[in-house]
């Protein structure tokens, strides 16, 4: 039988079983249920995208995993530990949805506060905070109060605070909200760095296209219920349909190809010019501006 530490080291990064969670409101703390019987597992080193419309319970689910929100029923484990235990929270990082960081503090002082709460030793905190502010492009604003930051800058600060402790599990709620093109690049770099380190990622967004390229798996949350969960490719694939991207054919050959497909028993559902990704567009615009 394996010893306890062995069991913990083999435990999934995140494990939810029949999770029900509710908010308490008013003087008598009445319950308002938000998550209903959610079961989900994220293996170590993988990246899971949590998608769903606004109000589906994504943020609540992340709060439960971060130990911020209580659980009414069910089991929640982060690296085999209950997230209500400080030990589990020491190994995770969380980016909340609205960047509610202390607005009166400078970026540097706010990282000192957040790092101190995380228990990071002072010297290491100072070094790591400096490097992260540099990485997210806020080194010049390190002494400026957070209340003077734009939404995108606050998001970058949020990313810096999330990666302050080199966490094993990263929970990011709407990480791309408000980010500009360089901000996307910052996020990409931080995610890549975390994945290279073997960290497990859970990214929540109501815009799945933001996340697809990073996520091994996708989970769909609707009205607090987990409606679908599986590998991203499988989940988004439509049976019997293939997407084909062509280059170098004029209108004539394309017309012939369409006729051939029809004769072979298939159907061309749509034909449109292939689009570049938003990131590529941002990068190109940035480049043009630099040249100008």
């Amino acid at each position: 039988m394996p010893s306890a530490p062995d069991t913990l080291s083999q435990a999934p990064a995140l494990e939810l079983s029949d999770l029900t969670s509710s908010y308490r409101v008013g003087l008598w703390q009445r319950k308002r249920e938000v998550l209903h019987g959610v079961s989900l597992t994220l293996e170590r080193g993988r990246c899971l995208g949590l998608v769903g419309p606004n109000g589906s319970g994504k943020s609540t689910l992340l709060q439960v995993l971060a130990g911020v929100q209580r659980v009414d029923r069910g089991v929640v484990r982060v690296l085999g530990n209950d997230p209500r235990q400080a030990r589990a929270r020491a190994q995770l990082a969380y980016l909340p949805e609205d960047s509610p960081f202390p607005a009166e503090l400078s970026a540097s002082a706010a990282l000192d506060l957040l790092g101190a709460l995380a228990g990071i030793p002072r010297r290491k905190l100072r070094m790591r905070a400096g490097r992260l502010l540099e990485q997210v492009g806020l080194a010049d604003q390190r002494r400026a109060p957070l209340r003077t930051f734009s939404r995108g800058m606050l998001r970058r600060f949020g990313l810096a605070q999330a990666f302050l402790s080199e966490p094993e599990v990263v929970l990011l709620d709407e990480p791309t909200a408000g980010l500009d093109a360089p901000g996307f690049a910052v996020l990409e770099a931080l995610l890549r760095e975390a994945q290279d380190r073997g960290a497990s990622l859970l990214l929540a967004s109501h815009l799945p296209s933001d996340l697809l390229q990073h996520c091994d798996d996708l989970a769909l949350l609707l009205d607090g219920h987990l409606r679908a969960h599986g590998p991203t490719g499988e989940l988004l694939a439509i049976e019997g349909r293939v997407q084909l991207e062509l280059e170098g054919l004029g209108p004539g050959p394309l017309r012939e190809l369409e006729i051939w497909v029809r004769e072979a028993g298939g159907k061309v559902r749509s034909t449109s010019p292939a689009g570049r990704s938003l990131l590529e567009l941002y990068a190109q615009a940035d480049e043009q501006e630099t040249h100008a």
């Binding site: 308490r24 008013g26 003087l27 703390q29 709060q63 971060a66 130990g67 911020v68 209580r70 235990q85 400080a86 030990r87 589990a88 929270r89 020491a90 190994q91 995770l92 990082a93 969380y94 909340p96 609205d98 509610p100 960081f101 202390p102 009166e104 503090l105 000192d112 506060l113 957040l114 101190a116 709460l117 995380a118 228990g119 990071i120 030793p121 605070q161 402790s165 080199e166």
Partner: protein
């Protein structure tokens, strides 16, 4: 990596809330207002016209007025400030606090202690402004003890004895509150005598309303002897001993400015408890409701004679202390239980806050 035991450090959180209690716009407005008010003359015109105003009394009245305004504003602000702490948490701050390896109770204590420390610094700054405005003053008397008395009515020629129980006054003055009975002639003469062994001190005066009458305590002989007061109605009208106010012993003590120190310490303990209470209530209702309810509880604690009967209740004795300051004198040391009660209320409000956190 974070520390193995997963416990964060709370000093920065303490500093954050201390800083928030000292928001520059609020702090400077309050200090400026008090500095302006200190330029005014706070001695009632009736006292000035009657020639009863002395520099000692004028300083006392000004000190009382300035502290009354300051504490009124500060207590209202404290209730609102405390109630908004958990509101801020609910609005999102709890997400970056609770996702760290911290103990929620220690977070509560660090937040409460930091906000209270800010209040303490603000009170100290207010004290400096008050004393600069008033002037530090001369040596004065401090209340050293009280003893409840029963209501009694003395017809002309009647007298009564009151023995001082407990620790016997050794020096200074003893004061009793008397009232001449209403009638067509509401004046009478009274003689108050203090006796300790063979030594006797007395005072004789005409009384025409409710008035505190003071007699010097005979100096202590080598062996402590009990102190007995004899009250005699030597006039033509009726006389009543006011049982609603206890008999007081005043002894020579420090300087007048120590009165501000006493207010600062009491207000610090009281407002810290109030802050904790508002924080706790803020966990169960909106910030406005929590601030309102905290204010109502404060009013309940500071009106009536609660401060006399239960001086360990935070803020309860502040009105009486301010009244003593108005006489240019110093209040008694605060009740020994008051610091404990304040800490218990501030930290214990964690449980009151419920599961919102």
């Amino acid at each position: 990596m974070p520390r193995g035991d997963g416990q964060g450090r709370y000093g920065e959180l303490f500093r954050l809330w201390m800083r928030r209690s000292l928001a520059p716009s609020w702090t400077l407005s309050l200090l400026g207002l008090l500095a302006l008010l200190s330029l005014a003359d706070w001695t009632p015109s009736a006292l000035q016209a009657g020639g009863m105003s002395t520099p000692h009394l004028a300083r006392g009245l000004e000190r009382q007025a300035l502290w009354s305004v300051a504490l009124l504003l500060l207590s209202a602000w404290t209730a609102w400030h405390g109630a908004r702490i958990v509101w801020r948490w609910r609005e999102g701050e709890w997400s970056w606090i609770a996702s760290r390896p911290v103990s929620p109770f220690r977070v509560w204590v660090a937040t409460w202690a930091g906000a209270s420390a800010g209040l303490g610094l603000l009170l100290l700054a207010l004290g400096v402004v008050v004393e600069v405005g008033v002037g530090l003053g001369a040596k004065t008397l401090q209340m050293a003890g009280t003893q409840p008395v029963d209501y009694a009515r003395l017809e002309p020629g009647q007298s009564m004895e009151i023995a001082w129980r407990g620790s016997t006054p050794t020096e200074g003055y003893v004061r009793v509150f008397l009232r001449s009975s209403l009638g067509w002639d509401p004046t009478t003469d009274v003689r108050l005598e203090a006796r300790r062994g063979k030594r006797v001190e007395h005072i004789q005066l005409r009384l025409d309303a409710r008035q505190g009458v003071e007699v010097k305590v005979p100096t202590q002989s080598t062996r402590p002897r009990p102190l007995t007061l004899t009250l005699t109605n030597t006039g033509g009208g009726a006389l009543a001993l006011d049982g609603g106010t206890p008999m007081e012993w005043w002894r020579p003590a420090g300087y007048e400015w120590l009165g501000s120190c006493s207010v600062i310490w009491r207000a610090f303990l009281g407002l810290s408890a109030l802050l904790g209470l508002a924080m706790g209530l803020g966990g169960r209702m909106s910030a406005a409701s929590a601030a309102g309810l905290t204010g109502a509880l404060l009013l309940t604690a500071t009106t009536g004679d609660l401060g006399l009967r239960l001086p360990w209740i935070p803020c309860a004795d502040l009105p009486a202390v301010l009244a003593i300051l108005g006489e240019g004198r110093l209040p008694m040391s605060c009740h020994l239980l008051l610091p404990l009660v304040s800490v218990a209320l501030g930290a214990g409000a964690w449980w009151l806050a419920g599961r919102v956190r």
